[in-house]
Symmetry: C2
């Protein structure tokens, strides 16, 4: 009572995940089938919340992480919510900087590649991922490097996301406004 839906979900989530660790939260959809809950007539507004890969919150006993491709049985219409969230994440990864919400503060391209591959559900080329995100100025180098692993190999450069807030980076894929090309940064 007296909260927005977002404040409410953040407060409820705080029992499971420290709110300061939530890197992104967005509304998905309000479900309204009168039969969705067997006992009473109830609306539910679903949200997608993301947490960076380097936080591993202590979870209460009734709560656990599950691979998105291998979920246990879910109550009511919750079955449809998870794919909706995943689809939203998948889509936004390709035209926004939303990767910031999955990655730690600093990371190598390979590490980021693995996060994208997990979220998208298919292989991602580190070469191309780097080029796309650098060209769009979503990433910037930190100058630092990660030490080599125990098996050797060239140490990877560390990058960070330029801004920790959602930005659209590929606004007009098609049917974009006419006129002379926008000035490149000079």
């Amino acid at each position: 009572m007296g909260d927005t839906l977002e404040e409410s979900i953040r407060r409820h989530l705080a029992e499971k995940v420290d709110v300061r660790e939530l890197s992104h939260l967005e509304q998905l959809e309000t479900l309204s089938d009168p039969a969705r809950s067997p006992k009473e007539w109830q609306l539910a507004t679903a949200y997608l919340g993301l947490v960076p890969s380097d936080v591993d919150p202590e979870l209460p006993g009734d709560t656990d992480w599950h691979p998105v491709d291998d979920l246990p049985a879910l109550a009511f219409d919750h079955e449809s919510i998870v794919p909706a969230g995943r689809e939203r994440l998948r889509a936004k990864l390709s035209y926004t900087n939303l990767g910031f919400a999955l990655a730690p503060a600093e990371f190598t391209i390979s590490e980021l590649r693995d996060l994208y591959a997990a979220a998208l559900g298919h292989d991602v080329s580190a070469t191309n991922l780097q080029r796309v995100l650098l060209r769009r100025e979503v990433l910037e180098p930190t100058g630092r490097q990660r030490a080599s692993g125990p098996t050797g190999g060239r140490p990877g450069s560390l990058f960070r996301f330029r801004t920790p807030e959602l930005e659209i980076t590929d606004q007009f894929a098609v049917l974009r406004p006419p006129g002379p090309a926008r000035l490149p940064v000079s």
Copy 2:
């Protein structure tokens, strides 16, 4: 009571617009600021509804059409809903076949161009619009032609949308799955 939100909005809209004329309806967002309504605590779920350009429904006296760029003062937080709907339409026009919801059953490319231009808010080239929508197989020719106007000019061929339901036509703009190119229709 007993309706989904969508059934409810369709029923309410039926007083203004014949439901059979609604070509598209999709949920936008649920607004939940406790102060959004001055009298009582109230949630609102906003929808985007579209009507083809060739229907001109009889409206009740308290209702009217307004240009989206020149709206009268709106109640409560309704000010933010209209831009959200417009933005959604703009975005989906570029990666889906949503144009079907704006256009009559048959139309020339020029007529369609005018609808896209109005919805997008900038000029659209009929040449390029035709190429994009034909390549994506969103449009198909009917074989018929529109008669010339009073000032002459070559008569335009008539087209229709291939499917009258929302389809994503440009799914993987970037970060698409690797592998050999998907087979063209052969």
